[in-house]
């Protein structure tokens, strides 16, 4: 009689496609068609997680390329976390290796976009709690802020994509690298993003150091009005958080 371990090992090999379903079914004494349900479902869950976490990339690559890539990823990278979305975490790195190895289906922008889309999800569920204005003594950086360094620009592309533009040319590496900021908005709980332009970086550094914008402007040799404007804009975006007016 098979032990618990032997049964699980057989199921594992069938599910991971290391053993043909017919052979597994013969050993387990079960119906092959029914057994195949498990193989299909387990692979399907990872595929669903990838579809959900990389919707723009999936659309750009199209069903044939996306299907081929996600099948290869599933075969090479078995999920090891109970959290299904975690199965998608290694995908951008894996895609980058594929692209560098010369996979003709991929261009650098695809890899940058994968990193971006994963970061969007990670920011949405970031465990940091965003403090309420009443709890603040001075300005702080939104604790969900993620600073993403990308090999080519993604922020402008995504801004237009969100507006509904679809026939957009794919940015290339020639356009230079980009630093992007992603954070969770305190008011909606949704993810906002922007290219890391000087004004926003100034506001982040002011909040990070706990300075008054006017003092920081003097220290940086900037006009005070421009510094206040930059800081106010970042605060309205929820990128920096300010205490409630007392």
């Amino acid at each position: 009689m098979a032990t618990l371990r032997q049964v699980q090992a057989l199921m594992h090999r069938v599910i991971r496609e290391e053993l043909p379903v017919a052979a597994g079914a013969a050993e387990l004494g079960c119906d092959p068609g029914r057994l195949d349900i498990y193989r299909r479902f387990v692979a399907g869950h990872v595929r669903t997680a990838l579809d959900k976490n990389f919707p723009v990339l999936m659309t750009l690559l199209g069903p044939e390329r996306w299907g081929r890539l996600t099948r290869a990823f599933y075969a090479e990278m078995p999920p090891s976390s109970w959290e299904l979305n975690e199965a998608a975490r290694p995908f951008p790195g894996w895609l980058s290796e594929r692209e560098q190895a010369g996979d003709e289906a991929l261009v650098p922008f695809h890899v940058a976009l994968a990193s971006w889309e994963w970061e969007e999800f990670a920011t949405y569920v970031h465990e940091a709690e965003i403090p309420s204005p009443d709890a603040l003594a001075g300005p702080v950086v939104n604790p969900t802020l993620s600073i993403l360094e990308l090999p080519c620009p993604v922020a402008a592309f995504m801004a237009r994509w969100v507006e509904g533009c679809r026939d957009l040319p794919l940015p290339t590496r020639d356009q230079g690298p980009e630093v992007a900021l992603l954070w969770r908005r305190p008011d909606t709980g949704r993810v906002a993003f922007h290219q890391a332009i000087d004004d926003l970086l100034f506001a982040v550094s002011v909040a990070h150091q706990g300075l008054d914008p006017a003092d920081a402007a003097r220290a940086h040799g900037l006009p005070e009005e421009a510094a206040r404007e930059a800081f106010g804009r970042a605060a309205r975006m929820g990128l920096v958080l300010t205490p409630s007016a007392r």
């Binding site: 009689m1 098979a2 032990t3 618990l4 371990r5 032997q6 049964v7 699980q8 090992a9 199921m11 594992h12 599910i15 991971r16 387990l28 004494g29 079960c30 119906d31 068609g33 029914r34 057994l35 349900i37 498990y38 479902f41 387990v42 869950h45 990872v46 078995p78 999920p79 090891s80 976390s81 109970w82 959290e83 299904l84 199965a87 949405y124 569920v125 970031h126 465990e127 940091a128 709690e129 969900t144 969770r184 709980g189």
Partner: protein, 281 residues
């Protein structure tokens, strides 16, 4: 109302799903309690956590998992249990549950419920681990009868015997999924009523209701449709034997608009009230 294994009758509830985060609080009177899928919250901040904690203040809450893998030959995941226990504490959950199956092995997660062989070895293995889980979570813990599509040659007892041995041995509650009973009975050719009669019904602390997909050759437990009349009948038949049991509607795929979900909950409530009214009257 009579408590079951010391746990209260909570009425008729629904699973809290992201699709209904915006509207569910306005329907607070049509839902008696909520169930949260722990894997949808643990490790997450932001809206999923905020909404869960708000729901915990709004309704009685129970927790339900799919990744405990109580029957796996791998060790229990300590980090998972730690997060689970802190979620129990943060939400004030009345009890927690997962399925009598394995969902990971040899370091790989399946994110699916894979059946165990119905053997003495599996019974002993699950009993020991269930006791550990009960001690770690700090709230009562129940095991659910999962749906399953294959029967192993290795099994030496019936599914009902297997459930009974585990539940009695581990001294834990049963989350009786009535749709799963129907699905399994059809897929494996047994009588669902005889199956329920063979269970330790005094241990039923919660009931799950859900829809499924019948493709003609096999019924797939999709949680993606209305509860069919046969399952409502089986539910009524079960309640006649158990008396009041907290009953929860699961709808996880093709999630409908909130009003459809609430109407489905009302339909289940109507069956429950009809049976229980008749029982007490």
């Amino acid at each position: 109302m009579t408590a079951r294994m010391g746990l209260p009758f909570l009425g008729y509830g629904v699973g809290l799903r992201r699709a209904h985060f915006d509207g569910i609080f306005e329907a607070r009177d049509r839902v008696d309690f909520v169930e949260v899928l722990v894997e949808n919250v643990m490790g997450f901040g932001g809206r999923p956590r905020d909404v869960t904690l708000r729901a915990a203040k709004t309704w009685p809450m129970v927790l339900h998992g799919v990744a405990l893998s109580i029957g796996s030959v791998d060790p229990l995941d300590e980090a998972y249990l730690e997060r689970y226990a802190s979620l129990c504490e943060a939400t004030g959950a009345l009890w927690a549950s997962d399925h009598l199956c394995f969902s990971s092995a040899f370091g790989v997660e399946y994110h699916d419920l894979v059946p165990l062989p119905f053997t003495d070895e599996a019974v002993a293995h699950v009993i020991e681990r269930t006791r550990t889980v009960q001690a770690r979570l700090g709230v009562p813990f129940a095991l659910e009868n999962p749906s399953y599509y294959i029967a192993y040659d290795a099994s030496t007892m019936s599914e009902a015997e297997f459930l009974r041995e585990v539940l009695v041995g581990a001294d834990c509650g049963l989350l009786l999924d009535v749709n799963n009973v129907y699905v399994n009975a059809r897929n494996h050719g047994y009588d669902p009523r005889a199956f329920i009669d063979a269970l330790p019904l005094e241990r039923v602390v919660q009931i799950h209701m859900a829809g499924h997909h019948d493709d003609g050759t096999v019924i797939i437990d999709t949680h993606g449709d209305h509860v069919i009349p046969e399952v409502l009948d089986l539910y009524a038949w079960t309640l006649e034997r158990t008396g009041p049991v907290s009953t929860l509607l699961e709808w996880d795929n093709d999630i409908p608009p909130l009003d459809v979900l609430l109407a489905e909950n009302d339909a289940i409530r109507a069956v429950g009230e009809r049976v229980l009214g008749a029982c007490s009257g």
